[in-house]
Amino acid sequence: MKARVHVMLKDGVLDPQGEAVRHALGGLGFDGVDKVRQGKIIELDLAEGTSEDTVREMCEKLLANTVIESYRIELS
């Protein structure tokens, strides 16, 4: 089984990289990009039967820093 963990900076935490990407898009002539937020996706190959709770524990302990980041888990 696989898990895909999406990690994003929380709303309200300034994302200077996303802001730089927004500026660059504007420079390329793409108008109307109001906001860009950059995050990361972490893909995990897991032993069959691994619970979502275990993946959540991985997120809390290591994959995300919950002071500044939120995460979302997709299991497949």
């Binding site: 900076l9 935490v13 300034l14 200077p16 990289q17 730089a20 302990k61 290591l62 994959l63 820093n65 002071v67 500044i68």
Partner: protein, 222 residues
């Protein structure tokens, strides 16, 4: 008085930190990240600057979960002293020993230069050699030094006189110009600037020397 300096793969200020401790009169032992115990009788643990584990995942995240860091946390929870510089500050926020987090610099650039710092408190073994409001010149060298914390945390740091250093001219977007903070018991200090790089005439400045002198003085007397 005895200091331990932790070495992670990718640490690059470990020896500078050890030299600064030693010059101040401390006995220093280097400790590897895989070690599962601190040497006995250690008064203070130094977490050095660098790029532990290549800054993979997040700066300091992998280091914070290394075997030695469990011991560093236990040392701090027993009331021991811990001093984190630069990547060491990032490690301390990742362990939860200090609140907040260090984000990418607001200007997105790696910054390496001496900056003015304003001493926020003299009430700690790290800052007792300075006076409140004193301006000192200390080098910074970081890409992720943009301190962030909730308004409530910043208010608490301020109310409890735990902001050890502020930037004179904010170089990286840090909330409330914060450059270094103390734990609630005032025994854990994390700071982005490098006092160990301003501790010898040969460094071009000695404004950081008082940090090590006051640590050594306080712990020798203890």
């Amino acid at each position: 008085m005895r200091a331990a300096v932790v070495v992670f793969p990718g640490s690059n200020c470990d020896r500078d930190l050890a030299v600064a401790f030693r010059e101040a009169g401390c006995q220093v032992e280097m400790v590897w990240h895989k070690d599962t115990a601190l040497p006995s009788g250690i008064d203070i643990v130094g977490i050095p600057g660098g790029f532990s584990f290549g800054d993979y995942l997040r700066c300091g995240a992998i280091a914070a979960n290394s075997p030695i860091c469990a011991e560093v946390k236990a040392h701090a929870n027993r009331g021991g002293y811990v001093f984190g510089v630069c990547n060491g500050f990032q490690v301390l926020t990742e362990t939860g020993l200090l609140p907040g987090a260090l984000l990418r610099n607001a200007g997105l650039k790696y910054i390496c230069r001496t900056v003015p710092l304003i001493v926020g408190t003299s009430d700690s073994i790290y800052t007792s050699g300075y006076s409140v409001g004193q301006e000192i010149g200390i080098p910074i060298a970081h890409h992720d030094g943009n301190y962030t914390a909730s308004d409530a945390v910043v208010a608490e740091l301020s109310d409890q006189d735990r902001i050890a250093f502020r930037y004179g001219a904010n170089p990286n977007g840090s909330t409330a110009d914060i450059a270094g903070i103390l734990s609630e018991n005032r025994r854990v200090l994390g700071m982005m600037p490098h006092p160990e790089r301003a501790a010898d005439e040969g460094h071009g400045g000695t404004d950081g020397r008082a940090v090590f002198a006051s640590i050594a003085g306080a712990l020798a007397a203890a």
